[in-house]
């Protein structure tokens, strides 16, 4: 009776209309349509595209991050464009061309600052998340890579040309930049572990991986996997592996071998190699399926029409999928029930059931690359 009364009252109040028109963003996502400079708005629950947002410039290698309320996406374009997209009005609400050439970005833990990693001119620029007004400009002696957010309004990054890693603290009135030292030759990407304990930096110009203990009072690079990396005899690398997907499964890191068709498994505590998995091609993304022992892997051209699923307990491939041509990215439903896979050359997003491996849906998209669900808003390191 009581609830009936409430319903009657609500239907007469202005809140009723508000509730009907309200649109939650928690199961939405955006797909980068790299060739057309557009984004496709996805509804994860409905397996549907809701609309297209245009005018974002050169979106090759574009990535994005979300505001804490999951309403706004900050899109980092190759052409130096930083765009703020409103998921509700489906429009670009702010945009700045902040550099000639950029590679990625991150949002601060409090959601107030957006940092962008630039190639030309090299450096990191930090913007007010509300207005996209410039807050700080940190030049670098080269191309900056591996930008990640750290707790306490801080960001970490590394410089391809000089091999140094940095932490920038933007919590005070003036930024405080700390040089953490040389991690090695040509760091190509870096990632922070999910507990924000370790900054892992992959090297292209020499063997080994660098780990920096961010919980230490004076963090310093430490090399491990001294035999990891490319040698003259290795196979050509037709696409740089990405490390944001470095999976952290079963007490291990999983790394893409560079110039080898292998995954490398490393004990998380001792940083000693625990195994290798021969796979279909040069791994690009290795992404952990949430709430499971599995990681999913895609590959560099020309072997990029396959996705493999690997068990982190046995290090064995348990499934090989052929979703379509030029598989560029994979994104899991936050609780792991589905894998969403982009096929650039089939112009489609494919949705797989992670339990049965059945394809549940196919959504048309124009040359899709990265898929980004709004749940990323709550993931540290992005």
């Amino acid at each position: 009776m009581k609830s009936y009364l409430w319903a009657a009252l609500l239907s007469l109040s202005p809140f009723a209309a508000l509730a009907e028109d309200a649109f939650a963003t928690g199961d939405l996502g955006l797909v980068v349509e790299r060739a057309t400079g557009s984004l496709l708005l996805l509804d994860r629950s409905e397996h549907a595209a809701l609309g297209r947002i245009e005018g974002l410039g050169d979106l090759s290698h574009a990535s994005m991050t979300y505001s804490p309320d999951e309403r706004f996406a900050y899109v980092f374009g190759r052409d130096g464009g930083l765009s703020k997209v409103d998921m509700l009005s489906r429009q670009v609400v702010a945009r700045t061309i902040q550099a000639g050439n950029s590679i990625g970005g991150a949002i601060s833990d409090d959601g107030r600052l957006v940092a962008v990693s630039n190639y030309t001119p090299g450096g990191v620029k930090v913007f007010d998340a509300e207005t996209l007004a410039l807050v700080a400009d940190i030049p670098a002696e080269g191309k900056t890579i591996g930008l990640a957010d750290l707790p306490g309004r801080r960001f970490a990054w590394a410089v391809w040309d000089t091999g140094h890693a940095f932490v920038g603290d933007f919590s005070g009135p003036e930024p405080v930049i700390t040089d953490l030292g040389k991690v090695g030759e040509n760091p190509f990407d870096a990632v922070v572990t999910d507990d924000a304990h370790t900054y892992l930096v992959g090297l292209f110009g020499e063997k080994g991986v660098s780990a920096i203990d961010l919980w230490d009072d004076t963090p310093k690079p430490r090399k491990f996997l001294e035999n990891y990396g490319k040698t003259e005899d290795d196979m050509p690398v037709y696409k740089m592996p990405h490390l944001q997907g470095w999976a952290f499964a079963q007490g291990q890191f999983v790394l893409p071998a560079v110039g080898q068709h292998e995954l490398l498994w490393v004990d998380r505590d001792t940083l000693v190699e625990t195994g290798r998995t021969p796979v279909h091609g040069q791994p690009v993304f290795i992404i952990a399926q949430p709430a499971s022992p599995y990681v999913w892997v895609n590959f560099a051209t020309p072997l990029n029409d396959v996705v493999q699923v690997v068990d982190s307990r046995t290090h064995e491939v348990v499934k090989t999928l052929n979703p379509g041509k030029a598989i560029l990215h994979m994104e899991f439903a936050p609780r792991g029930a589905e894998a969403w896979i982009s096929s650039r050359d089939d112009n489609a997003i494919l949705v797989y059931d992670t339990h049965t491996f059945a394809q549940k849906a196919r959504i048309e998209a124009q040359s899709p690359s990265g898929i980004f669900f709004t749940a990323r808003a709550h993931q540290p390191g992005l």
Binding site: D58, N186, V237, Y238, K239, M240
Partner: protein, 106 residues
């Protein structure tokens, strides 16, 4: 939207391209190569070839470079950099087609 205009422009320019280039690479393969330049080379050099981890490859940036030098770089890569050798995936005429394409079209 310049992105939307480019492909039509390319079709016209390719149709006017030197006979020697077209003679060496069949038109279906040429379309694949163009796709490869934009999408796969674009991964490092940018979809509009203005550069990224790799150097810019626009016509202005290349500024009349020797096509045979470009062909050699495409086939054998640049040691000590991230530019891989594409010889396992491309024939010599195909690499030359890409070199000419970069110099004449992009």
């Amino acid at each position: 939207m310049p992105d939307g205009v480019i492909p039509l422009g390319l079709v016209i320019v390719l149709a006017l391209c030197a006979g020697a280039v077209r003679a060496e690479v069949a038109s279906a393969r040429a379309a694949e190569l163009e796709h490869m330049v934009i999408q796969d080379c674009g991964s490092c050099h940018g979809l509009t070839l203005k550069g990224g981890l790799g150097a810019p490859l626009t016509r202005e940036a290349l500024d009349g470079a020797d096509p045979e030098t470009l062909q050699a770089i495409i086939l054998d890569g640049v040691p000590g950099t991230a530019m891989p050798p594409w010889r396992p995936l491309l024939s010599e005429p195909e690499a030359r087609w890409i070199a000419d394409y970069l110099l004449e079209v992009k």
